[in-house]
């Protein structure tokens, strides 16, 4: 099925316009649609981190489990430099803030880049020895690294910098436009990278390291590059999360966070950027919103259904996950990307899919 280029451009423009209208609508009715506002922002932030993980796991074939650690580095860097100087005494009320840092307040964008650079610098240091080894070691090393970072952040010795286990608050607020806009820019940059000459080299490494090397691709250099860039964007994702949540503490960045991101990547499809974005939004929406009613007590005809209580939605969520992983092993998108042709093809195929479903049923009945 071929669509004219102009048709596709028009579709894209309409979709973009609709999205902006949605944002404006949500922003001006924040109080009524609080949940949608939250889900959209958090979904996009997780999408940035998921795409960054996909860059490594899905496109370069390197299995890393350090996303939460790099996010923590980014989130804390961002928070430390953006909490207004006048609020710092009340934030660091236990031990006070380190005098070197106490006077430095950075503009939001500068702090966000610093957040990315902090994560990237740590990645460069761990990557250099670990990426020489077989790729399994990367998963172990990054998992360990992530937990060490979290422990360090929460340790009393770091009180004057990270405020230890008390966390950081009073991080300046940003509008939904800023948060979502920055997320889209980050994702777009990663998409550009993946479709560049370097992205092709990453895919070559994923497909066959020996052949990639025989094509003149320096394995260590390109793996290090992918790892550092992935961590840079995980750090930015952490910074964006701090910007959105306005208060952070080290428990946000447990291994469970990495696990959530990994699930998003797997559900969306390893090797699909649009898959990761779609999946981040869907997973966030179901976890935080659509499945909420499972947590409310439910009474049918005067009988209290016993399962419906706090935490039940996570059970449902896990079951849904298992179904997805079992039946769509390659995720929603596999390694393909969203295209208007794909969408119209899918819509056009619905009638035939439905009828074939009925035919199967008839056959089975006989």
């Amino acid at each position: 099925m071929n669509m004219k280029k102009t048709t596709k451009t028009i579709c894209t423009l309409i979709a973009a316009a609709a999205f902006i209208v949605l944002l404006v609508f949500l922003e001006s009715n924040k109080n009524k649609y609080g949940m949608a506002v939250t889900v959209l922002q958090k979904g996009f932030i997780l999408a940035v981190v998921a795409v960054s993980m996909n860059l490594l796991n899905g496109f370069t074939g390197l299995f890393s489990l350090g996303q939460a650690g790099f996010m923590a580095l980014g989130a804390y860097t961002y928070a430390i430099f953006t909490i207004p100087v006048e609020s710092r005494a009340s934030v660091y009320y236990i031990s006070g803030m380190n005098p070197v840092l106490a006077g430095i307040e950075l503009p939001m964008l500068v702090a966000l880049v610093a957040a990315g650079l902090m994560a990237a610098a740590f990645a460069a240091v761990i990557g250099f020895p670990v990426l020489r080894l077989k790729s399994d070691y990367l998963a172990i090393a990054t998992l360990g690294f992530s937990e060490i970072i979290r422990a360090l952040i929460a340790s009393p010795q770091m009180d004057t910098i990270t405020n230890g286990s008390y966390g950081l608050k009073s991080i300046p607020a940003a509008s939904i436009y800023v948060v979502v806009g920055l997320c889209i820019i980050c994702i777009a940059i990663m998409a550009l990278l993946i479709n560049s000459s370097f992205g092709r080299a990453f895919k070559a490494i994923r497909e066959d390291e020996i052949a990639a090397e025989a094509m003149g691709i320096n394995l260590l250099k390109h793996k290090e590059l992918a790892f550092v860039i992935s961590s840079f964007f995980a750090g930015i994702g952490g910074g964006l999360l701090a910007m959105f949540m306005r208060s952070i503490d080290s428990s946000t960045f447990k291994i469970a966070m990495t696990y959530d991101i990994l699930l998003i990547v797997v559900i969306g499809g390893m090797g699909s950027i649009t898959g990761s974005v779609l999946s981040a939004l869907l997973v966030t929406a179901s976890k935080e919103w659509w499945l909420r009613f499972f947590d409310e007590p439910l009474t049918i005809a005067g009988v209290n259904i016993p399962l419906f209580r706090n935490g039940f939605r996570m059970v449902i969520f896990s079951i849904l996950l298992m179904v997805v992983v079992l039946f769509y092993r390659r995720g929603i998108m596999g390694t393909s990307e969203f295209s208007w042709e794909g969408l119209t093809g899918l819509i056009k195929s619905i009638p035939s899919r439905v009828t074939s479903l009925f035919h199967k049923k008839e056959g089975a009945a006989r």
């Binding site: 560049s196 000459s197 092709r200 025989a214 003149g216």
Partner: protein, 280 residues
């Protein structure tokens, strides 16, 4: 005689106690087609892997374009275990990595085809252009190298046309029929702009007609790209027709070298191949 482009000296490759290549020396001159033959397990692929930097040899040296690219001597545990010859002759450790050797102008194919399976035919070839790209990751991401990218795509298209794969350029590599996959692997190697092309059993698994086509293809690209070819091959028809000179390995040891006529009548070679069916 024309210039020596590749020279291997006293190459010994020992894996633990197994001596896979034993004191092998050879040279290839510019513009030649040289074949390396020998029964299965003779150490031919291992010799290729040493020349291309995949394995560091246990002892010996390799020169490309008169530059020493590889040199090693028994070290560490190997010092005691070493079962080869010429110990002490080499004292330097020089190990260029496979990507560096490719950059110098040595391209290769693999005995078991190693394509980038889930990528398109076009991308398989285009990837080979990456190493000569001047763009850094920043300029490539933000498309500041658009001109270079366009040129690379143009060259890729041309190359695919020359090797007759243009009509399948958008197919996924693993979906191609076997013979075309072999051609694609050669096309991909050519895209690195090599001076020397190493082919590891390019006709493996091909029927006589496909083998003939491949023979013509190798001759054609050799002329068109001004290449020197060093190949491992089992199809004797192909080897005898195409090669200027032949080296023979048996159990890791070089047992003969010479022109196709000389090799065909060499007693040791006939013995080594006795009982080995022709089509292996």
């Amino acid at each position: 005689m024309s210039k020596t482009i590749l020279k291997a000296e006293d190459i010994t490759m020992q894996f633990g106690g197994v001596v896979a290549v034993n004191n092998f020396s050879m040279e290839v001159h510019e513009g030649e087609i040289v074949a390396l033959i020998g029964p299965n397990g003779a150490g031919k692929t291992t010799a290729f892997n040493v020349i291309t930097g995949v394995y560091a040899p246990t002892n010996g040296a390799v020169y490309f374009d008169e530059q020493m690219i590889i040199s090693n001597y028994p070290q560490g545990k190997m010092k005691k275990m070493y079962a080869g010859e010429n110990e002490g002759k080499y004292t330097k450790k020089i190990e260029k990595t496979p990507d560096q050797i490719t950059k110098l102008g040595v391209a290769r194919t693999f005995q078991n085809i190693r394509l980038f399976k889930s990528l398109t035919v076009f991308d398989n070839v285009l990837i080979a252009k990456h190493m000569r790209s001047k763009a850094n990751v920043f300029s490539a991401t933000f498309r500041l190298n658009a001109k270079e990218e366009k040129k690379n795509r143009e060259e890729t298209r041309k190359l695919l046309e020359i090797v007759g794969l243009l009509d399948v350029q958008n197919e996924i590599a693993s979906s191609l029929p076997y013979g075309k996959q072999r051609h694609l692997e050669i096309a991909r190697a050519l895209a690195t702009e090599p001076k020397l092309l190493l082919l590891d059993e390019p006709a493996a698994g091909m029927n006589p007609q496909e083998t003939d086509e491949l023979t013509a293809f190798i001759k054609r690209v050799k002329e068109q790209f001004g290449l020197t070819v060093f190949m491992i091959e089992h199809h004797m028809d192909l080897v005898m027709e195409i090669s200027d000179r032949i080296y023979v390995l048996d159990f890791g040891k070089p047992i003969a070298s010479g022109t196709p006529d000389e090799i065909q009548n060499n007693k040791r070679v006939i013995e080594a191949y006795l009982g080995v069916p022709e089509d292996e």
